[in-house]
């Protein structure tokens, strides 16, 4: 059974890994905080594995979850 993803972003070919010179692809990643893990799908470099966290995500959903966990 497919694991539930909390968040999915598809780079749609607009992002490129500077190191490997290849486009980022939608890939599996995980956010970890205070011993809690959240499976997500983010733009990932298929070669070196660089995971990109866009600004909107960092300041939006990620921040909200951080805050909620901090006060647990």
């Amino acid at each position: 059974m497919a694991e539930k993803n909390y968040y999915t972003i598809d780079p749609m070919g607009k992002l490129q890994c500077m190191k490997c010179r290849v486009p980022l692809e939608k890939g599996k990643a995980k956010f970890m905080y205070l011993d809690n893990g959240f499976p997500v799908e983010l733009p990932v470099c298929p070669q070196c594995g660089f995971v990109y966290v866009p600004e909107e995500l960092a300041l939006g959903k990620v921040l909200a979850v951080e805050r909620a966990l901090e006060d647990k």
Partner: protein, 754 residues
């Protein structure tokens, strides 16, 4: 150098803040919920304060509802009540008290009756009342309200005469209404009764009551119960209208108990008047006289408007934090206590716990010294102990402190001295905000004091103390003590009242303030006051330190400043929003605190804590630190967070170069970075330092790891620095980078297989 993140959310540890008894002792200090003086004085427990408020709002219907709660015959009571509430009204202490009884009459006259409630099921137990008069009348009313089947035995011929027996003082109109009300009540009457037959007539009734006159030969009765155990009759002597009404209330309660076959003394609760410990600040209250005149509706509204709605809100009036949360200290304490006690789930009070300035103003303005700051401080330490204190709100400040006590730390004896008589400790904020002022002050002290003056640039530990990190505080304390020892344990000259307060906790340390030294040795030539009058803002760090408060005033006056008194000065001074780390944990409240400080006066502000100086200037107020005036320096417009660090470091290097002739390292990292002003502002807002940007770009240069966004044409690189991942949006330029944006998050992101 990084701090450890808080513990896993799956670790469940608990420690109580204090015992239940201590919690209650603390809570009891707050008199906010104590009754108003008028309410406390009324044995019938009229909520006069609420009634007057309703009248003041022209809501006579609501007012009448409140008044009817205490008596079945409002017209009779208001016509003759002795009104002890009036004598107790706080306004009697200045001018005339509120004319409460006349207002009750107005309430009876203008208050429309509410709709009658549904008829209630009659109780099973029957009650007889013998005799007439006020006690009998009120008691009959009380008992029918309680839904007892009541039978009144009286000598009178009819209802009119029964009512008239002791109500001669009631006006004709009010009598009419009262009689009408009596007629509407479900009460049985046996007129023309020979009361001498009481003992036979009482047969068949479950509870028997009688007027005092009807039981002539009673010798043994209890006033508190209105009961004669000897005769098994609910009765007693009363005097006056209020006395009869109160007697009837007590009697009705005894009937309740007897009807349940209980002793009438059983669980009666609090009856009669109470003592109130309420405190009301009368500073802004002006004496006035009664204005009820002939008692028109308008006059009544105006008279009720004189009531000041007695309550204690001294702390909330003074403190922007308490205003923000709209909570009184007692409630706040209880919620904080519970918050700290829960092991799992959301800790809703973490934010309030971390938003208090720990300034202690409440403990001074409260008549009973309620110290919310102390409670929040204990709660913070508790959360640190149990691993529940989030690092996020305090991390920046704590890292800043580590910076002050490592990279930017400086401890040197004056050149030519191995050990010094003094050491100047200006404080981390002074070095960050006004480095030139610190340098000027140090030079002046070296020049004019005998015995050598060392310098110590660093943080006193207030930051970790405020954050509740007691272990870190102890380490800082030990570190500072060791440094001081290496200087020959000199007298510490604090440049900041908060440092002075924090350092006073060190054993065996001789401590003074630069203001005391300047008072003693006189001002330097550079000293010049402001040309215009100014408001003096006392530092919350100097609360309770009269000597410091006075010394500052003395210096300002000697420089020719005209100081204007503000409300909440000296010991009552509010915090500027920096204290307790509010500036970091809750910017909105911190800003409200600053504005609260500034609303006291339109004038320029003189302060003696650099954080106050900084925050006032940020709000656009002309703001000077007293040392800027003493040394003729100008710290200019407030620095951003990176500038604050830079200032500390460059102050250290400049002093090393100029006073100790030491070469210092160039602050150079080998490439250029350009920031637009918007980016600098954005970074300040997001608490991202230039040094963070440099670290990200340095990592980029080593790994080559970055992403190119085809849509914007910008590259984005990142680095994990301690507990935070920083992302930088940039473009390469010749010799370096131009930065277009930056953001961060604390969560760790990793690749996931499968």
């Amino acid at each position: 150098m990084f701090l450890e993140e808080r513990e896993s959310t799956h670790v469940y540890r608990q420690k109580r803040m204090f015992t239940k008894e201590e919690l209650e002792t603390r809570e009891r200090l707050c008199v906010h919920e104590q009754p108003a003086f008028c309410n406390a004085a009324c044995p019938l427990k009229l909520d006069a304060k609420a009634m007057l408020q309703a009248v003041a709002e022209n809501d006579f219907k609501k007012a009448l509802q409140l008044y009817e709660k205490i008596t079945p015959f409002p017209h009779v009571l208001s016509a003759g009540c002795e009104a002890p509430c009036e004598g107790s009204c706080l306004l009697c202490r200045m001018g005339e008290g509120v004319a409460i009884r006349k207002l009750e009459q107005a309430v009876c006259a203008y208050g429309e009756k509410g709709r009658k409630g549904l008829p209630r099921m009659k109780k099973k137990k029957t009650v007889a009342i013998f005799g007439s008069g006020l006690f009998s009348l009120f008691l009959a009313g009380e008992l029918q309200k309680k839904a007892y089947p009541v039978t009144v035995f009286c000598a009178e011929n009819d209802l009119q005469h029964y009512f008239d027996a002791e109500t001669g003082f009631v006006s004709a109109r009010a009598r009419e209404s009262s009689l009408l009300a009596l007629k509407g009540m479900d009460i049985q009457f046996r007129f023309q009764t020979d009361l001498g037959q009481l003992s036979s007539l009482r047969e068949g009734f479950d509870v028997v009551c009688a007027s005092w006159e009807a039981v002539k030969d009673c010798t043994d009765w209890e006033e508190a119960l209105m009961y004669s155990r000897e005769l098994k009759i609910v009765t007693g002597k009363t005097s006056g209208v209020l006395g009869a009404a109160f007697g009837a209330k007590k009697a009705a309660l005894s009937v309740d108990r007897l009807a349940q076959n209980l002793d009438p003394s059983n669980t009666r609760g609090e009856e009669g008047t109470v003592e109130t410990k309420l405190f009301v600040d009368l500073t802004d209250v002006k004496a006035s006289n009664q204005c009820i005149g002939s008692g028109t509706r308008e006059e009544a509204v105006a008279e009720a408007g004189r009531c000041i709605q007695c309550t204690c809100d001294a702390c909330v009036k003074a403190c922007a934090y308490l205003q923000h949360y709209k909570k009184y200290p007692r409630i706040l304490t209880r919620e904080i206590y519970n918050n700290v006690s829960i092991i799992m789930g959301d800790h809703m009070m973490n934010k309030p716990i971390n938003a208090c300035a720990l300034c202690g103003q409440c403990s001074v303005v409260c008549p009973n010294g309620y110290d919310v700051g102390e409670i929040c401080h204990i709660a913070r330490q508790n959360m640190v102990t149990t691993g529940k204190m989030p690092l996020a709100p305090h991390e920046f400040a704590l890292m800043d402190m580590l910076f002050s006590n490592h990279e930017a730390f400086l401890c040197r004896p004056q050149p030519g001295f191995e050990q010094c008589k003094y050491v100047f400790f200006p404080g981390c904020q002074a070095a960050a905000i006004a480095p030139d002022t610190v340098a000027a002050a140090y030079r002046d002290l070296c020049e004019r004091l005998e015995g050598g003056v060392a310098i110590m640039l660093g943080c006193c530990g207030a930051i970790c103390d405020w954050a509740g990190r007691y272990e870190m505080y102890d380490e800082t304390k030990a570190f500072l003590d060791e440094q001081l020892k290496s200087l020959g344990s000199p007298v510490v000259i604090a440049g900041c009242p908060t440092c002075k307060k924090e350092l006073s906790g060190h054993e065996g340390l001789v401590l003074t303030g630069i203001w005391d030294i300047l008072t003693e040795i006189g001002l330097p030539e550079s000293a010049k006051g402001l040309d215009t009058p100014a408001a003096l803002h006392d530092s919350c760090g100097a609360r309770g330190d009269r000597q410091t408060q006075d010394a500052i005033r003395g210096l300002a006056q000697r420089m020719g400043c005209t100081l204007v008194d503000t409300p909440y000065c000296a010991d009552k001074s509010p915090c500027c929003g920096y204290g307790g780390l509010t500036q970091y944990t809750n910017r909105e409240i911190a800003r409200k605190m600053t504005q609260k400080c500034l609303e006291r006066s339109e004038l320029p502000y003189i302060s003696y804590c650099m954080a106050c100086r900084d925050r006032f200037a940020r709000e656009g107020r002309e703001s000077k630190h007293i040392l800027e005036l003493v040394y003729g320096t100008n710290a200019g417009s407030p620095p951003d967070i990176s500038q604050k660090r830079y200032n500390r470091l460059s102050l250290k290097q400049e002093l090393l170069r100029q006073i100790w002739n030491e070469e210092t390292e160039e602050m150079d990292f080998g490439f250029n970075i350009e920031y637009s002003p918007e980016v600098t502002a954005l970074m300040d807002d997001r608490m991202i330092l230039k040094s963070d940007i440099i670290a990200v770009l340095q990592q980029l240069r080593q790994t080559g790891e970055a992403v190119l966004d085809g849509e914007t044409g910008l590259c984005i690189a990142r680095a994990r620095l301690g507990n935070v991942t920083f992302w930088v949006k940039y473009q390469e330029i010749e010799g370096g980078y131009r930065v277009f944006g930056a953001y961060s998050h604390r969560m760790n992101v990793v690749r996931r297989q499968g």
